[in-house]
Symmetry: C3
Subunit: 262 residues, 3 copies
């Protein structure tokens, strides 16, 4: 599927946080798409109009950018451009919760990707988010049940990333067993993944399959990068993840992505 991204080179408009924005842009470029970051209310309608996907990430949200997220999302809906939501830290603060609620009520999302705590918040479950990391384990909630419920509620592909990643839509379930625990020691692997999902769904192909393949690509990159650089430390591991994404192929995703459909 990544070969389709590379041949179509979709333009991916991101309204995202300033912590991991550079890695997100480089990850989108690495898989063969083209990123554009723009978050001003005066700019986002024009930019989303020339894009093939919009990614909204609330990592460092503020009043100015939340307005832009809503406006860009509504414009993308009007134009039929797929929209990805990364609800960073949902469950950790009432402002993040209110913002996610507002986004879900005003924008129709194609894909929602988060960790188990964030997705449990969207599902209406009690959620205990430790900052931007998930504080819930699979003992607390079943990822398949939560993903299915979020998918149903939002009419979107729902992806929960964790030890095993789960993608759900309309009764279809995919699981991705690749990735590496050490990815949690680098900031932004989740944000990069949301950007990559934007690149994959920006091709216009089936969002469920593209989301599953995007996660498998990131998981394969994590395995490959850990083999090459994990022993060197987290700085080298991070560089190796971008390296692996930039060399990723359909064959490598098949070989190392560990993607299975129920």
């Amino acid at each position: 599927m990544i070969s389709i991204v590379r041949s179509r080179c979709p333009l991916v408009h991101c309204i995202t946080n300033y912590v991991t924005v550079n890695d997100t842009a480089n990850a989108i470029l690495a898989v063969g798409a083209s990123p554009i970051m723009s978050d001003d209310i005066n700019d986002v309608e024009d930019i989303v109009s020339i894009s093939q996907a919009l990614v909204i990430n609330i990592g460092t949200l503020n009043e100015r950018t939340v307005r832009s997220m809503v406006q860009a999302g509504m414009k993308a809906n009007e134009l039929g451009i797929p929209v990805v939501l990364d609800p960073v830290g949902a469950g950790a603060s009432s402002y993040r919760n209110r913002t996610v609620d507002e986004l879900l009520s005003k924008v129709s999302f194609t894909v929602i990707r988060g960790n188990l705590s964030e997705m449990a918040y969207i599902n209406g479950s009690a959620s205990r988010t430790k900052g931007v990391d998930s504080s819930m384990s699979e003992a607390d909630a079943d990822p398949v049940a939560v993903a299915s419920a979020v998918s149903c509620k939002a009419g979107a592909v729902a992806a929960i990333t964790g030890r095993v990643d789960t993608v759900a839509k309309d009764g279809r379930i995919a699981r991705i067993y690749s990735g590496h625990l050490e990815m949690g020691r680098i900031t932004g692997t989740g944000c990069m993944l949301s950007g990559i999902i934007g690149a994959f769904v920006g091709t216009g192909e089936d969002p469920f399959l593209m989301t599953a393949n995007a996660i498998a690509a990131m998981g394969a990159a994590g395995i490959d990068a850990y083999e090459k650089a994990g022993h060197l430390g987290t700085g080298s591991f991070r560089v190796a993840i971008i390296d692996a994404l930039s060399l990723m192929s359909d064959a490598m995703i098949k070989e190392k992505g560990q993607l299975e459909f129920d």
Copy 2:
């Protein structure tokens, strides 16, 4: 020429985007200058007053920072400090276009550097910018003609980067054949270059020559980095570009920069 940057260590004030700001700061440090990022209206006059160059990059512009750009630019003009403009995405949205127009009408620039689409917008040509990447090729417009026209219109050194880079001022033309296509697969090589141009013109030497040499330094770094790390992937390639800039010398620019004057 880079030896002059290293010996004088100019302070370069940047009002730039949050996507590539870290790479821009590290690139400025790598060539021997000192970066300072500051974008609040209360801060920019003081900061530009202690600086030797100002770099304005509109990559993630917003109403707050555009006001700061105008104010800092006007103060720099008053003090005779060189100002570099990177009109990121000009031609891609009406807000970016209006901002570039406002900056050009209120601030006198020493150097303007962009890709062919962005510079064609400034030249008043019809421009089709694909996000932040140029959508125009040399078949659409002649870089020498566009650079000469922008230079004449703005009274600035005009630099257009692309497959071949062009620098124009008062009938003088320089071309730089170095660089590597793969640099387009990393975000920020253009922004880094604009920062480096700020470092070079911050020496107080002739802006035309310094701009041409700054581009040649970046081009030589791209070639060197690709030789060392291109096969490893774009993460390593990006690290190697900063490495190469930090080790760059006048001799290396002469050997690998492929700078020619008409």
Copy 3:
């Protein structure tokens, strides 16, 4: 001491600049803590309430974020959460000076870390800050005297980083001789250090000892990274610093940290 950070994994809330925020987050993760960046006035009280430390860095301050810094700092004080101040560029502009004054008057800090110019400003001495780098040398002012005075004035651990680093509190003095001059050629080593100090004091252990050990950890990482990657250039050196932090142990800090108490 780093083993305590790794076992307790404190959540460190950072309100910091957008230049070095990614490195700061990765440095905090590398030493075993968990970063969360949040700077909106609607969000910071909730986020600081679930955190074990707050780090305030004024590198790219603006009116919106300064209000958030004050509010988060006051909330942290109310809850007894340690607060670290990095007064980036104090002495370089009147807005930075006013902001530092406001923060010091409204928030009680646990640790203040800066270079000699910045700390001399806080001490009320005439300060000549060259941008964000110190323009003062030990010939201009005695770091032990300045640190002791700032500590006394603010009731905080005061740390001055430079050729030799100095930590002062209540008559106790620590000096750290490790680190490497080349660290000044990378942006953000100071910001990363302030983040790491947040991680160390977020354990709840003695702030004087934890600050001294955090600086020694960074110093040891700088030495280790320079040995491994210094000859490759500043891009690789930067990656190697994060690598070294991620592999840092109590034994390595003891061996290479060069920490001495008066």
